[in-house]
């Protein structure tokens, strides 16, 4: 049994963990929930050995446990599957699984790759995944990578005699619903041999998979429940401190779109990705696209964003025919792209909030041909206030913000640039419940201002809930269109039928 006794940790004077205690018993799945900033990640990293607590102790089977590195943690059978994908894309699956543990296969300094591949194959077999272990991980889907990560964590079994503790830090945030099912199946079957700590923003998932749930708030553990004795809304209230909105997707605010057509696609296509796509988006309209991986919907967003030049058909913005060969051109034609990879494509993490907000269009803060820093700060400060961005000031580097606040900065940028079309590519990925709600609120605001929005989302529910209309794509073509007026939303099952 791994127990944590009253640990505290602070950064630059801010308390991230306050006297946190919890227990992880053998063969048990622990759920850990909390809003962003509640201290979940800090706690996980402390358990994984990458952070050392300022005070408090950890014990493993009654013995004092001091972890100075992930290696220490591994020796004691604690493995972690990280929130950000932590595989090396330039290496094969087998190499990734045994990275840092090659000594098991080393004789006289020479690594026996064949034995390692065999072992990796066995590991993947244990969790019932069939992936070629010589594949480069860059060629794998997110879901497959997650499985590889799990397999990697499970390799500890071979070197540690006691049952493992596997820490899963938001493993589901980039997975589709089906992949999540597969993951949960594996976790359940592995419970016999290991205990799990499962962190997620999706409360229903936590309840589905966990035996016990700890709820954190402001660096403290505020509640502990048996998973079968508590409901999602109850947990939400404890976690957020207020009740769950019944109208999660702000449906009452869904206005009828204006008559003006902003974006018009006719027979749009990109060779090898999608073809013959017709749709238009009115001012204030939200059009969602549903489809499985490989349906071509991702490529449509890349084409509209200017990353992937169209090869057939036509595209019109406010009646003007356009053809983009670079994102710059798309931005000039007032398209704003909110990318899925927020940390890579969304924001320049090392630049400040102000600099990121004005990046797409500096003209509003240019005066006499030069950037007016006063004006820029003022603009950024206004946005910080208007969008409730939690930051000490406009000069803070964006990497210091939480995911939700980062997403607000991205949106503030496009509003500053006067974008008339927004492409939201998985806008709520990796955000907690509260942050998601704020984003939904913002999306409704944008819609009300007459901005045309194209939405791709992690869940069908979100797609349906937010959109005015939903297109379903399959194998590069639009297979169905659903009207999704407020109060008259289509059924998920109908969409799914068209997707496959």
């Amino acid at each position: 049994m791994l127990s944590v006794n009253g640990i505290s940790k602070s950064f630059m004077g801010v308390k991230a963990l306050k006297n946190v205690s919890l227990e992880i018993r053998p063969n048990e799945v622990i759920g850990l929930i909390g809003e962003n900033g509640a201290g979940k990640s800090t706690l996980m990293r402390t358990l994984a050995g990458t952070l050392q607590p300022d005070s408090g102790t950890m014990t493993l089977d009654g013995e004092r446990l001091r972890l100075r590195s992930t290696r220490d943690a591994a020796v004691h059978g604690i493995g972690m599957v990280f929130q950000e994908q932590s595989l090396l894309l330039n290496m094969s699956v087998a190499e990734n699984i045994y990275l840092g543990q090659e000594h098991q296969f080393t004789r006289l300094g020479i690594v026996n790759w064949k034995a390692m591949r065999e072992a990796a194959r066995r590991q993947l077999g244990k969790i019932g995944v069939d992936i070629d272990v010589t594949t480069r991980t860059s060629e794998l889907s997110f879901a497959a990578r997650q499985m590889v990560e799990l397999a990697k964590a499970l390799t500890l079994e071979e070197s540690v005699s006691r049952p493992l503790v596997i820490l899963l830090d938001e493993p589901t945030s980039v997975l589709t619903a089906s992949d999540i099912d597969v993951l949960f199946e594996r976790i359940r079957s592995l419970k016999k041999r290991a205990s799990f700590v499962f962190v997620s923003h999706r409360l229903d998932e936590v309840l589905r998979i966990s035996d016990r749930v700890y709820t954190m708030k402001d660096g403290e553990v505020v509640a502990e429940h048996q998973a079968n004795q508590v409901t999602g809304p109850e947990l939400h209230e404890i976690m957020v401190g207020r009740g769950l909105h019944t109208e999660y997707y702000k449906e009452p605010r869904q206005m009828a779109p204006r008559p003006e057509v902003i974006l018009e696609a006719n027979g749009l296509g990109v060779k090898g990705a999608f073809r013959g796509v017709d749709f238009n988006i009115h001012a204030g309209e939200i059009v969602g696209i549903a489809g499985v991986v490989g349906s071509g919907r991702e490529e449509i967003t890349r084409t509209l964003g200017g990353f992937l030049p169209q090869t057939e058909g036509s595209l019109k913005i406010r009646g003007e025919a356009v053809r983009f060969t670079s994102p710059e051109q798309a931005v000039r034609k007032s398209i704003g792209y909110v990318p899925r990879e927020r940390r890579i494509e969304g924001l320049v993490m090392f630049l400040s909030i102000a600099e990121n907000i004005t990046l797409a269009d500096l003209s509003s803060v240019m005066k006499n041909g030069r950037i007016d820093y006063g004006l820029e700060r003022k603009l950024a400060t206004d946005w910080i206030r208007k969008l409730h961005i939690k930051a000490p000031g406009p000069d803070i580097a964006c990497r210091k913000l939480s995911g939700g606040n980062q997403q607000k900065v991205v949106l503030a940028r496009w509003m500053t640039a006067g974008s008339r079309v927004l492409i939201l590519d998985h806008p709520t990925r990796g955000l907690d419940v509260g942050a998601k709600e704020e984003v939904y609120e913002l999306v409704r605001d944008l819609s009300a201002q007459g901005i045309a929005i194209l939405l791709l989302s992690d869940t069908l529910e979100e797609t349906i809930g937010l959109s005015h209309r939903v297109l379903v794509m399959k194998d590069g073509e639009v297979t169905a269109r659903f009207d999704a007026a407020a109060g008259n939303k289509p059924d998920q099952v109908d969409l799914v039928r068209e997707m496959v």
């Binding site: 950064f11 630059m12 801010v14 991230a16 990640s41 800090t42 952070l51 990497r399 210091k400």
Partner: protein, 360 residues
């Protein structure tokens, strides 16, 4: 993302404090005591680098002279960087207040002008060797620009070429390795080679390649040329000994050392050794030991008013020095006097190696 900021920063401060301490310590420990007596002039030698044998011997000569007259001597090296060479000289001028004698082998032809101008402005006495622009004359900077010394590259290049031709029997193909393309000495020596070729129609120049004065480049080039011309190569002409020795090693790798004669210029030890074993047909030396001393001697005598540069004839202001060719015939003697022991020169006769005024 929060992280271990506090700890990290603390570590950094320690690291930084440590570094600042180390920097101070290092700089202070690198300071030798200042020995510059007021009044006595400083002798300064400015050369390209200490990483080639030629300039290393130059420095020995300079030190020998400084010891002879009992003065402080400082060596500056430009490391092939004109800016650095000039900056160092200016720094020395500032430091000594102009009370110095400079013997300079400017890194590149253009450098001579600013060097001379700076010395003139500071009142220091300067002698340049090898490189100066054609329109820069000592007489225009009286009395500070004492002399400019060169060695007739054309005649040296021609002389070694002729010895090479004689060694290979007056006919056949040769290859030639030139110095850095834009360098005056390289250009002149090549001219000498061409002049010799013009007089010997039976000798064929198979190829002329540039090895930038370096033995390593000469090594690779020679082995490539051996492929291209094979047995056609009867001899190798190199514009300096470093390249010559590189070429020799390439020959050795093919078992051709001693069979294909090499000639070079500078008289470095390796080349003299090779002349003794017969692998080099000859080398020519301008005697860097003498060069190191004579430049300082000229400047020091002018500074101490032992002679007045302004009244010296033109052939004492810009002159060719005497070169010594080292061949099979005189190599043993040269080896004894110049390699095994340090030559005993007293530099008292300032003009004994003047061979004539520099062509314009």
């Amino acid at each position: 993302m929060k992280d271990g900021k506090t700890l990290m920063n603390f570590g950094e401060i320690n690291r930084r404090t440590l570094m600042i301490g180390a920097a101070t310590g290092l700089a202070v420990s690198a300071m030798p005591k200042r020995l510059f007596a007021q009044g006595a002039p400083t002798l300064v030698t400015s050369i390209r680098s200490l990483s080639n044998p030629y300039h290393a011997v130059w420095k020995t000569g300079a030190e020998a002279y400084a010891k002879l007259v009992g003065l402080e001597h400082v060596t500056l090296v430009s490391e092939g960087n004109s800016e650095k060479g000039i900056a160092d000289i200016k720094a020395m001028l500032a430091k000594t207040g102009g009370n110095m004698v400079l013997n300079s082998d400017p890194n590149d032809t253009p450098d001579a002008r600013p060097i001379v101008e700076a010395c003139k402005a500071a009142g220091a006495y300067v002698v340049t060797q090898w490189n100066k622009p054609a329109d820069l004359h000592p007489k225009d900077f009286n009395p500070n620009y004492v002399s400019h010394i060169e060695f007739d590259g054309i005649s040296s290049g021609k002389q070694i070429a002729e010895i090479l031709f004689k060694t290979i029997g007056g006919s056949g193909g040769i290859i030639a390795l030139g110095g850095q393309i834009s360098n005056t000495a390289a250009i002149e020596r090549k001219k000498g080679l061409e002049a010799a070729l013009a007089e010997n129609s039976n000798i064929k120049l198979l190829d002329f390649q540039v090895a930038n004065w370096k033995s390593t480049e000469a090594f690779d080039l020679t082995s490539n040329l051996l492929t291209r011309f094979g047995d056609e190569i009867k001899g190798i002409w190199a514009a300096n000994d470093d390249m010559g020795t590189g070429a020799l090693e390439a020959l050795r790798a093919e078992g051709l050392a001693g069979k294909v004669p090499v000639v070079g210029i500078d008289g470095i030890k390796a080349a003299v050794d090779a002349v003794r074993t017969g692998e080099f047909a000859c080398t020519i030396t301008s005697d860097p030991f003498w060069q190191g001393g004579i430049g300082l001697a000229l400047g020091y005598n002018a500074l101490t008013k032992k002679f007045d540069p302004t009244s010296e004839p033109p052939e004492h202001r810009e002159f060719y020095g005497k070169v010594v060719s080292i061949t099979k015939d005189n190599v043993e003697e040269y080896y004894k006097t110049n390699v095994e022991s340090q030559p005993a020169l007293d530099w008292s006769d300032l003009w004994d190696r003047v061979t004539g005024q520099i062509r314009t």
